[in-house]
């Protein structure tokens, strides 16, 4: 009995010792894992910290100051930069509404045309690859190249085409007149961007199970009904993503406007990013004020993205 008791108490002690030992190795193991994590992440983090995080925090910080290129020091001015941007800066306000208008047009046309093209191409069998290659091609060229190429089209080709093909509506001052330069910016953006969205829509369409369409066909649904009741609901995920990709990209538009109209004539086609660029680098060098505008652009994009993630999450729950 006592033997047994001794044995069992030894066993308990052994177990406790073992537990303590394993806990000790566990904590050193944990430390080792943390150290290893830090070593692996450090190279990426250094670049990220210096060239992205510091500029981001700095932009927020300097947006509350009157920092500019001329003086060495700066002082805090509270919210006055933001107030000025909203109240006393007609150019910035104009650029905001111009960007908003551009975004609205892009939102509708880029997605509708891309989706229609994707639907049409999916019905083709042999020419599918050919059309996809062709429609995506403009997206490979940079926006600078696209815009410069189109300035030739707008200034030289369209006037001649309007005469020879009797398409008189083509003969317009596409770049020199602010009423038309909006549309020329839109045309180049659509020409460049539709293919990208189309590729995403095509991938989504290929994921629609064919047995659903066949079942609907047997039930007597016509192609239009099948589109509305089967295809569109099944690719809603892709539609949401493309819609927000467009919103996000359109609010940040810069290259195409810079190369095509440079914001002109006057500042009539100036977009937000161009207004910020001009404020900081080519006009007034008011860095503090330009940073406040940059933060406003950031908040707009932030809100768009937050709405997007919410909508996508909601969809996932429903599905």
């Amino acid at each position: 009995m006592s033997q047994l008791g001794k044995q069992s108490s030894e066993l308990v002690i052994e177990q406790v010792q073992h537990k303590v030992k394993s806990k000790a190795t566990f904590s050193t193991k944990n430390q080792k894992a943390t150290l290893s994590l830090i070593l692996f992440v450090l190279p990426a983090f250094i670049f990220y910290f210096v060239f992205l995080l510091i500029p981001m925090v700095g932009a927020g910080f300097y947006s509350f100051t009157d920092w500019n290129a001329l003086s060495q020091t700066y002082s805090f001015v509270g919210l006055s930069n933001y107030i000025e941007a909203f109240k006393d800066d007609p150019d910035f306000r104009h650029s905001f509404f111009f960007t908003l208008k551009y975004t609205a047009f892009m939102f509708v046309f880029q997605n509708v045309i891309a989706l229609l093209l994707a639907l049409f191409i999916e019905t083709r069998v042999r020419t599918k690859g050919f059309f996809r290659t062709l429609f995506f091609m403009p997206n490979m060229l940079s926006l600078i190249i696209s815009a410069l190429m189109f300035s030739f089209i707008f200034s030289n080709v369209l006037p001649e085409l309007s005469q020879k093909a009797m398409l008189h509506f083509l003969d317009q001052p596409w770049i020199g007149d602010s009423r038309f330069s909006f549309y020329s910016i839109l045309i180049v953006s659509l020409w460049h961007g539709i293919g990208y969205m189309m590729v995403i829509y095509m991938a989504a369409l290929q994921g629609v199970p064919s047995h659903l369409k066949e079942a609907a066909m047997i039930d007597g649904a016509n192609p239009f009904q099948r589109l509305i009741h089967i295809t569109i609901p099944m690719i809603m995920h892709a539609i949401t993503i493309c819609a927000f990709l467009t919103l996000n990209g359109a609010f940040k538009v810069f290259d195409v406007v810079y190369a095509l109209t440079a914001g002109g004539p006057g500042r009539s086609t100036q977009v937000m990013a161009l207004n910020i660029y001009e404020e900081a680098f080519s006009n007034n060098f008011r860095y503090g004020y330009a940073n406040a505008k940059a933060m406003i652009l950031f908040f707009i994009v932030l809100v768009i993205t937050l709405i997007q993630t919410r909508m996508l999450k909601k969809k996932e729950v429903e599905a």
Partner: protein, 272 residues
Amino acid sequence: MKRMFGVITTLILALFAAISFFPIYMAVINSFKTQGEIFDSVLDLPTTLHFENYTGIFEQLDLFHSAGNTVIITVIGLAGIVLCGSLAGYKLARTPGKLSNFIFTLFLASMLVPFHSIMITLTKVAKGMQVQGSLWGLGLIYIGLGVNMAIFLYHGFVKTIPKELEEAARIDGCNDFQIFTKIIFPLLKPITATILILDILWLWNDFLLPLIMLTDVNNYTLMLSVNMLFGQYNSDWPKILSGLIVTALPVVVFYAIFQKYILKGIADGAIK
């Protein structure tokens, strides 16, 4: 009815294809004309092919030099993004815990920051770090701006690799770093290819960052040089158009070779 529908879709697609291709076609045929021929008619085909527009552009603009600059920036940027991104993405995916989650969220959240919002302070940081204006400096900046996306993609990919391989290698006496270089990195090839392709296109076509960073014309990237064509040749269209086509050509060739991967990368990136 069904046949008519087929004909109509084909017609619509053909019309859009024509519109899509028309600007490129116009740029190509007019790049072979003289200024006088363009003045007579832009729509007609050139009577003789004036290749001197192209040779002229190479002599006067030194596009090769700008292309070389772009290659240097791209190589530094890509090497850094792939190296740093794969190391961090792998380890973040394999380490549970709050710290790891926090760092990953930090990288992820930064993906929604628009470049235009940080560009002003970025130029100041670059000046402070003495990397403004240099090619290698610009390459380093691209690492900082592009590594978050790479980490995100690597992170997602590593989750699909079974852990058993690493455990077996650990038992065989490999340390963490050896496991990464010998086992993991080779397995990451497909996602590395996607990242490389997307980032090559980004770096090659990027305009605004080089515009605010590079001041010396000697260091200009291809896109900056192309943008100068307009001012330099003031409506000398044959020269401008041939310059545009020469600049666009590498990307078109790249597209022809890697089309499958490019399209897959875009679709995967969006749907996931």
